[in-house]
Symmetry: C3
Subunit: 149 residues, 3 copies
């Protein structure tokens, strides 16, 4: 059912808008610091903004993947909430890094924590489906044995 | 039903082949301009080809995500058509950029436009499902009120 | 049914853990060779590790996409097995590249081979669904014609 994954779709949509926002910031910085493609480096102010965007893009597939895996195999609501937390941490990370390299550290840790929570949710969800698929009869047999029937 | 997403699968397959094609072009350029890994920079001709590939790869997760989101929550046919438009624009972008930095601009804008259309389609599709899921009863009540029964 | 895609979910989970492992190696190398963000370059030892991680991240969306496409449109078991082969090849690639640039070549070719097998699986699966969706009646008519009824 589409309604079982619609919040994942919504978080995905918001994440695309956030990525587009980061890109627009790099475009602005390219103009401000006069760094024309294909050049990738400029003054440290430009480099920090550019690195913040690249880092966010690098982690983007992992984020999307693990949010969807957690949401599909476990439940969309916690995956959606943690996903929003990740997007918020990335937003703080981007603006922190643009200001000073040290300010990227804390929000990056929060973002990593969100990813690990999603990994945990996904692992639980997948574990349940695997147990159900491959060990259902064994579980039934064992529980019957202990229940005495 | 698989047949409801098969065109999205087809566009995905074509997109993977396009990415592989870009990579093969960078390999050729590495040999031609004698830029051995881990070096990433060489003469401007090499840098433009390398940047074109990197940029296409950077946007790839966003493209796939938003095409699938639009196709699943709205309908696969428009998402497929716009998706093909995006892949064609990326092809022109790659070959334009390889020739001269200015020639990357127009196809990149076309590619961005395709992404925005997909974002719009996805937003409409998700909006419909959310309204249906969370406000269906309210809509019924309101319409009953105005219909007088 | 979730049980029809659970192995894809499992391979996805493992792939996220592998990516996290590569990132942790780059962090270690940043500390060891004293390369602080936003700097991206250092001694060749650092550059190789950094390039190995970046290359793995670049191909990650393509890998995930094509594994899921193959697994959904064809069958999850072959996609899962080939997917594990890809992850193993990436592991060897990463550690080979960290040691010497030449040692990256063979595992990278194995990883590419795995991707091409997944592309083939996906193409077969999508082809079957498209034929079934768009040409089912024609096939029936032709076979009836030859069967003589």
């Amino acid at each position: 059912m589409l309604s079982d994954i619609v919040l994942l779709g919504l978080a995905t949509l918001l994440s695309v808008l956030e990525q587009a926002y980061f890109v627009s910031k790099v475009y602005q910085a390219r103009r401000k610091y006069k760094v024309s493609p294909p050049a990738m480096n400029g003054p440290p102010e430009f480099d920090r903004i550019s690195r913040a965007q690249i880092n966010s893009f690098e982690y983007y597939p992992m984020f999307l993947t693990i949010m969807w895996t957690a949401g599909v195999f476990q439940h969309q609501v916690p995956a959606f909430v943690i996903g929003l937390g990740y997007l918020a941490a990335r937003f703080k990370y981007f603006h922190g890094y643009a200001e000073a390299a040290e300010l990227r550290v804390v929000p990056l840790r929060v973002a990593a924590l969100m990813l690990w929570i999603l990994v945990g949710l996904a692992a639980i969800g997948i574990g349940k489906v695997i147990v159900y698929k491959y060990a259902y009869k064994d579980i039934l047999r064992v529980s019957r044995y202990f229940m005495g029937n």
